[in-house]
């Protein structure tokens, strides 16, 4: 019976190929757009280092003065002051490890050759960074924690910059110039396919750092601090100078500007949070933390979910795409219903000749599933081109300030997304076909046979 119904369904699709094609095409177009935006949204909420992301937390505390704006969202929490970072790191909690970072920039070239120099962002961080976030390395690796303390002039560069500056060779041990200093390359990272630059709280899609230098070096050489300093009113004016100057004043100030990340073992979050509270309380005696105590210790998952959920463009696009898909489905189902109605006579004959209702249902479900699968195939193809288009629009929109290869992975279908697209196609087509199928299987046998 299955086989018979299969051949009937197939014949029916072949019967009016134009109509079938229109039906499949509408579903495919709707699904194509839907899958395109699903893919973009999927990567936008893609969580890095998933096997441990739940246990890596950004530590933030509201050190600001009473007059500062209230915190409504975790992303509004200020960065951390140098004082607090140092105090916390120097009072270790068993099992908890930290890493810190801040942003800098510099002019970087291989020799004193100015014409090939690039101005680039530089991430200032410590040895723990590469372990905690599992930065993949092509050559060499991160630096040692002694290098942080001693202020060694070492640098980790990206694969892309290694290609540009060294022609892709293993450049470990070679030197490059950052502004007027000379630094030794200790590692070359592989393409780090994290969708968002989460580690410095920018959450920017793409733009992963090409250069990483140790904190000790950054402090010794006083390279620029490319940060927004969240200061108390008394130091508001000075914050413009903190970028290049006044290190001593900065580290004694109430300005938050550093990211503090903590790896906290499973189940110890509460303990760590009360550790933070116990740390803040005595600080209040010193005239710090004048507001009600507010700390936010969110892991990577929580942050990415929050940020991805607030992406207006994607949300908006998703809403449009869903309705778009709905219209396409309605459109397809109208055509399908019309096709079915044309066949009421045939169905009533088949019923008279003894076909059970369930057999008729099977036949039409099969037809619908076939349409769903065809729509799925074509839809995935359309999504492939849709994503290619979106990638190019993105590159065009940012005036090619990022390279295609650095973000291409965010516009790629994977088996999961393709599977999801097929499932969506078949399931949605089936759901909207329920009524037409129900209607056709309930045609009374022989009811249509009288009229000539």
């Amino acid at each position: 019976m299955l086989q018979y119904n299969f051949s009937l369904a197939l014949n029916s699709l072949k019967e009016r190929p134009g109509l079938t094609f229109l039906m499949v095409l509408t579903i495919a177009v709707g699904l194509g757009l839907f899958t395109t935006i699903q893919t973009i949204s999927y990567y936008s909420s893609d969580i890095p280092i998933q096997h441990k992301s739940q246990n890596i937390y950004l530590v933030t505390m509201d050190h600001r003065e009473t007059s500062a704006d209230p915190i409504e969202r975790p992303t509004q929490m200020p960065d951390t002051t140098y004082k607090d970072v140092m105090n916390l790191i120097n009072a270790p909690v068993p099992g908890v490890s930290y890493t810190i970072n801040w942003n800098s920039y510099g002019v970087i070239n291989r020799d004193a050759d100015t014409e090939t120099a690039v101005r680039s962002e530089i991430l200032v961080t410590d040895a723990a960074f590469f372990n905690m976030f599992e930065t993949p390395f092509l050559y060499g690796g991160g630096w040692s924690s002694e290098a942080d303390e001693k202020g060694d002039a070492v640098i980790v560069i990206s694969r892309a910059m290694n290609d540009r500056l060294f022609g892709g060779i293993d450049s470990v041990g070679q030197t490059i110039r950052v502004n007027t200093d000379t630094l030794t390359v200790v590692g070359v990272t592989k393409d780090w396919n994290i969708t968002r630059r989460f580690y410095d709280r920018t959450y920017a899609p793409g733009y992963i750092h090409d250069f990483f230098v140790p904190t000790g070096y950054a402090i010794n050489s006083d390279i620029p601090r490319n940060e927004n300093f969240d200061c108390w009113e008394t130091e508001k004016e000075a914050r413009f100078e903190f970028e290049n100057d006044k290190w001593t004043q900065l580290i004694n100030s109430e300005c938050g500007w550093m990211r503090l990340w903590a790896a906290i073992p499973e189940g110890q979050l509460e303990g760590y949070e009360s550790h933070l509270m116990r740390y803040i309380d005595p600080q209040k005696q010193l005239g710090r933390f004048p507001r009600d105590i507010k700390i936010v210790v969110d892991n990577i998952n929580e942050q990415i979910e929050f940020v991805a959920g607030r992406n207006g463009y994607i949300n908006m696009f998703q809403m449009i795409a869903q309705l778009f898909f709905a219209v396409c489905l309605l459109n397809a189902i109208g055509i399908m219903l019309a096709k079915f109605i044309r066949r009421t006579k045939e169905v009533s004959l088949r019923r008279a000749l003894g076909a059970r209702k369930s057999v008729i249902i099977q036949q039409y479900v099969m037809e619908v599933v076939m349409v769903g699968i065809l729509g799925g195939i074509l839809g995935v193809i359309i999504a492939y081109f849709g994503l290619w288009g979106m990638l190019n629009i993105r590159l065009y929109a940012v005036d090619y300030t990022i390279t295609a290869e650095s973000i291409a992975h965010q516009y790629q279908l994977n088996p999961l997304l393709i599977g999801q697209a097929f499932l969506t196609s078949v399931a949605c087509t089936l759901v909207v076909s329920l009524y037409p199928i129900w209607r056709i299987c309930n045609i009374p046998p022989a009811s249509q046979l009288k009229s000539a």
Binding site: E346, L353, G354, R356, K357, V359, P444, K450, A452
Partner: protein, 233 residues
């Protein structure tokens, strides 16, 4: 073969109730060839639909081949139709896009027969109606009489005990009508019970027995000469 006791069918719309059939009592024996006549709107079609298990009824009992069909569910009715009843319609109702073979095969498919048995039966049925050589033709390539013979082949392919014909010659000219009647009589002679609805008195008279339906009631059962001959024989 077919026994109706007190069968009534009422159509209800928002405004009126129509008794399509009123307390019909009827007994058709195995092997009989019965014609049903009556004016338009008399309830002929309703009778045929109930007899053919295409419609349900409100009151009474209906025994088909000794089985009471009242209260059977849709699936059981489908299976009964498939196995025990063959249908012949005025407008043939062949599937236009399928060749003759596949048209005749339809009821056998729903019976779940093996391909080999289907082939055998379809070929046999088409031979019976004299169209075996046209097996791969499409219905549109045939004349009306030939099409109706295909429909008959479809009806008998499953070897039903009971054949229901609704104005089988209504769309045919008299020569073709005669051929179709000859075929039906031949089938009847081989033991299949036939009930034929018609408005043609001359054709009706070729049956063993004629039932008249008037205003939803089976008012008269008139044995005709042939039937009596059979009886007495």
């Amino acid at each position: 073969m077919l026994k109706m006791e007190n069968v009534s069918k009422i159509f209800r719309t928002e405004l009126i109730e129509t008794h399509a059939l009123r307390k019909v009592d009827l007994h058709i024996k195995a092997g009989e060839f019965v014609s049903v006549t009556g004016p338009s709107g008399s309830g002929k079609t309703t009778f045929l639909n109930i007899a053919g298990l295409l419609e349900t009824f409100e009151e009474g009992d209906y025994y088909l081949d000794g089985q009471n069909v009242k209260g059977l569910n849709d699936n059981q009715l489908s299976d009964l139709r498939n196995q025990k009843i063959g249908f012949i319609f005025q407008s043939f109702n062949l599937l236009a896009d399928l060749p003759l073979f596949q048209n005749v095969e339809v009821p056998l498919r729903y019976r779940g027969m093996s391909a080999k048995e289907r082939k055998q039966r379809v070929e046999h049925a088409l031979e019976t109606v004299g169209l075996a050589s046209r097996m791969q033709h499409l219905p549109t390539q045939l004349s009306g009489g030939q099409q109706q013979r295909v429909a008959i082949a479809r009806a008998i392919a499953g070897e039903p005990k009971f054949l229901l014909a609704d104005e089988p010659t209504g769309n045919l000219d008299s020569l073709m009508a005669q051929q179709v009647m000859d075929l039906l009589e031949k089938i009847n002679e081989q033991g299949t019970t036939i009930v034929m609805v018609t408005h043609d008195d001359q054709l009706a008279r070729r049956a063993h027995r004629n039932i008249q339906i008037f205003d939803g009631q089976v008012s008269d059962m008139e044995m005709n000469a042939t039937a009596e001959l059979v009886k007495s024989a």
